[in-house]
Amino acid sequence: MLLSVKNLRVSYDNIRALHGVDFQIGEGEIVCIIGANGAGKSTTLRAISRMVPVEEGTEMTFMDQDLLQYSADKVVSKLGISHVPEGRRLFGNLTIMENLKLATFARKDKEKIKEDLERVFDIFPRLEERKPQKSGTLSGGEQQMLAIGRAFMSGRKIMLLDEPSMGLAPLLMLSMFDALKELNKEGATILLVEQNARMALQFAQRGYVLESGSLVLEGSSEELLANPEVKNAYLGG
């Protein structure tokens, strides 16, 4: 298993957001977690990237390493876990090129960085055209491309994507998922959380359903798409 999460519990101000979540992701997989707003999807990703403290009893391992031994920046630089946060959170005062370069801050493999950069520009030619521009000037779709490209540059073993489809027109959404498939072929395992359940399940190979801080269902995408409960609650009947 690439990533294994056991009994993940997180609280904010004494209110428990995750009540012991268990799941596993194998190398090369595309997995999604679907759920309503406030179900704890973002919190799950934040816990993996060590941006929120977890409670006693939580176990998380990545490539057989104890994830809890790593600080947030080391999770990225030493383990290769990258995280595209909700709302993309680009550095609007930096250029597109600088946003991509900053993501390689701790990397020493100069040749590979160059290759990766070329790969990002292959997949997102718009970014190369506009690389000297401030990222704050990009359209929503371009911003999402940059956020994904940036995550790919920082560490490519696994990419955690928080609502990547949010705010994108349907056509842009499709091309973004195509690009993610490309990056997946390059060796990036993908874990995404989405409110847009249909889109996410069509893209991922399997999924989990998160409800009020607990995983209630899991299965292959086909199974979940055909599941009457999922249909009712998340796919609009």
């Binding site: 934040r46 920046d73 995280h83 946060p85 005062n93 930096l94 900053l102 801050f105």
Partner: protein, 307 residues
């Protein structure tokens, strides 16, 4: 006209002091959203460290009977003191501010005030109440350029300051550390997701700011050789004004505002009695701020404080 240029030279010198100190304020504020009110006292500590280093080098040189030219002693003093003072800054960040990173901003602000008092009184306890004379390392020579009198010291102060500001600008624009600093100024919380150790960047910001304040302290000691433990207070306030007037986290802004302060002070003193200098000068600055409440430049930033 000659009168004007004469004052311009003086204004540039004072502006250099203010700008060098303001840069440290501005960087820390820009990156950590924190007013480091101890910064004026770091300027004082830098001047004293400079005094110690200069005295030490002179003593060592005469002890070993090496004839070091005075200009070389000064250059070494500036470099070594900047280096040593940067550790004072790192210590202030590590012990004073890092434990309060998530605390209310007011707690961090009083921390700065307390560290300032500790540095002032610590100095007093260490060296006693008598004032210290900064060794006079360069002989003053005065040049008459078309009726304007310029001393070698003033030229040196302005040139060294501008060089340091240019170096800082290049560092922030061109290196990956500078890039990380700019990213932190924009959206602090996301920076770890880029694999950037933010504690290192925070410590570095304090180190650079303190080194610049030390340079200002030594240059001040060269021009006005009497040092006392409270010399940093008023300088700190004024440089703080310059930092905010320049705009949040803006290096160019802090530099220009520092020089502007120097200009306003000197030119007010040129027209009015010098006892009214600060009264009138800071009334003018208050007026400027009323028209530009966000300062001159101010880097844009994301207001989201959580991931």
């Amino acid at each position: 006209m000659v009168f004007f240029f004469q004052n311009l030279v003086n204004a540039l010198q004072w502006g250099s002091f203010y700008a060098l100190i303001a840069l440290g304020y501005s960087m820390v504020y820009g990156i950590l959203m924190l007013f480091n009110f101890a910064h004026g006292d770091i300027f004082m500590v830098g001047a004293y460290i400079g005094f110690g280093v200069a005295t030490g080098i002179t003593a060592l040189a005469s002890f070993g009977a090496i004839a070091l030219p005075n200009w070389l002693i000064l250059v070494l003093t500036i470099i070594i003191s900047m280096f040593l003072t940067s550790f004072v800054g790192i210590l202030v960040e590590r012990l004073g501010y890092r434990p309060l990173r998530e605390a209310p901003r007011a707690s961090a602000a009083i921390t700065g005030l307390m560290i300032g008092i500790i540095l002032e009184t610590g100095n007093l306890a260490l060296l006693g109440a008598k004032r210290v004379r900064f060794p006079s390392l360069i002989e003053t020579s005065t040049y008459n350029i078309g009726g304007v009198f310029v001393t070698n010291k003033k030229i040196m102060i302005v040139v060294v300051s501008l060089l340091l500001m240019f170096a800082l600008h290049q560092f922030v624009r061109r290196t990956k550390w500078g890039m990380a600093m700019r990213a932190m100024a924009f959206d602090y919380v996301v920076v770890p997701l880029m694999g950037v150790p933010i504690n290192t960047i925070a410590a570095m910001t304090f180190a650079i700011g303190s080194a610049l304040a030390a340079a200002a302290g030594i240059l001040f000691g060269v021009a006005y050789p009497v040092l006392d433990p409270y010399m940093g207070i008023v300088f700190g306030w004024k440089a703080f004004v310059a930092a905010i007037l320049g705009g949040r986290g803006s290096i160019l802004g802090a530099t220009l505002a520092g020089f502007l302060l120097g200009f306003i002070e000197i030119f007010v003193a040129m027209i009015f009695p010098s006892t009214l200098r600060d009264l009138i000068a800071y009334s003018i600055i208050l007026l400027i701020l009323a028209f530009r409440p966000h300062g001159f430049f101010g880097e844009p930033y994301s207001a989201r404080l959580r991931l």
